[in-house]
Amino acid sequence: MSYDFTNAKKLLALCSEHNMKISEVMLERELELSGMSRSALFEMVDRCLRVMESSTNRSLDEEPVKSMGGLIGGESRQMRNLSEDKVICGTVLHKALTMALSVAETNASMGVIVAAPTAGSAGVVPASLLAVYEWADVSLDALRLGLINAGALGYLFTKNGSVAGADAGCQAEVGSASAMAASALAEMLGGTPEQCCNAASIAVSNLLGLVCDPIRGLVEVPCQTRNAIGVAGAFTAAELSLAGITSPVLLDEMIDIMVDVGHSLPESLRETGKGGCACAPSVCSGLRGIQHLL
């Protein structure tokens, strides 16, 4: 019996056949294809979680440093210092947004991160999962499985879609990451496999068409705040799905749609630094704009 799958439909069929969660099917698939022992695999999962945790806190614990390009640094601390009466997103989401900013800062200053699925979108999955883990009654094992669930979705986007901004825009990076996190959150909070895929489908649909337009071609602005919106999108999609709200577009279709939309974006909006935010007058008009950013 093989646990390998090639699309969401087959993944859900395996879940139903074996009465398993998405993470459990993905775990069996990985064990089967890698030949790794269960304990070795969980050691690798734990290593990822440790690096993720440290990158979500690094910019809060340590003195913030400027990014390599000098465009960001210190934003997660600013978020943490926001007075409580202005936290309109609520405690958990606020914490997750703060963490996502920290990962982006860590990444942009050559700290160690876990690409999930990419370095540019590395804040979404750890911030979403770790903030909810802290807040909800979720066990460490459920957190580990949550990360594996996110991996299952990331695998589908890598295999059948795209996770490269240069190929299909930011929707392929932050969009995929947001879908991965949405599905993982749904599972961690007791959702069914169908609710996980539905949450992922909603998350992607809400970021469909998001362009990749990094200022000066660097993974800094607007990438950092896009990680924050990826988190907010994941929370939103998970909550909608857990409430029973469904997208009529199945996840496999949504992944195809994302690629089609991505490929119809002009090249200037696919990580070339030649369109969108990268070409804003305040950014392009030389020093004034840059100083404003610094």
Binding site: D4, G111, G151, G273
Partner: protein, 226 residues
Amino acid sequence: MKKNYISLFDVIGPVMVGPSSSHTSGANSIAWTARQIFSGTPVKVDFTLYGSFADTFRGHGTDRALVGGILGYRSDDVRIRNSFEIAKEAGILCSFTPDRDTDVGFPNVVDIVMEAADGHSLLVRGESLGGGRIRITRMNNIKVDFTGEYSTLIVGHRDEAGTLAFITSRLANHEINIAFMKLFREKKERGGPAFTVIEADDFLPEELEDELLSYPTIESVDMIEL
């Protein structure tokens, strides 16, 4: 060893020093691989950067990642951030030349020329393919094509009859299964310099190097193990 499926840890990973899998992690892997291929210790390394590497190498830490690779650091090693200082202390002179004019036919490309104290040198060209994956496409004047994702054996030799048969017989002796094998040569006709690149499913034992070097047409043997 190599896997032919997308793993959980391809998606949740790599664990890497930021900011970019293609510009930082990929650049580091190219330089790391180049360093493995080079016999001897480099005292001088020149990097020529093409495509988007040339435009954004500082902001992406491509330069520090490249030097880190030469120092033998993998892409999750925080020492990459201080690689300039460490290389300087180690007496390795590094220089960077962005080349925005030459069309090398691919977005992220770097030429690495390593030179040892005795004057022997090697040029390695690498392409960063995205997600940290790379391809080596040139060694000196010879076009090559391998990824470093397998155990890789690189044999520099004169292009003469019998050489390949000797190499494969030694591999057979060690029960090493060949996944891919290709001979790349500089000239169109026989007798010139060539590289044979073998990507294997099995681990390459160290003694293989001396065994292969005993053959008269074989000039260099380098092995890359992940």
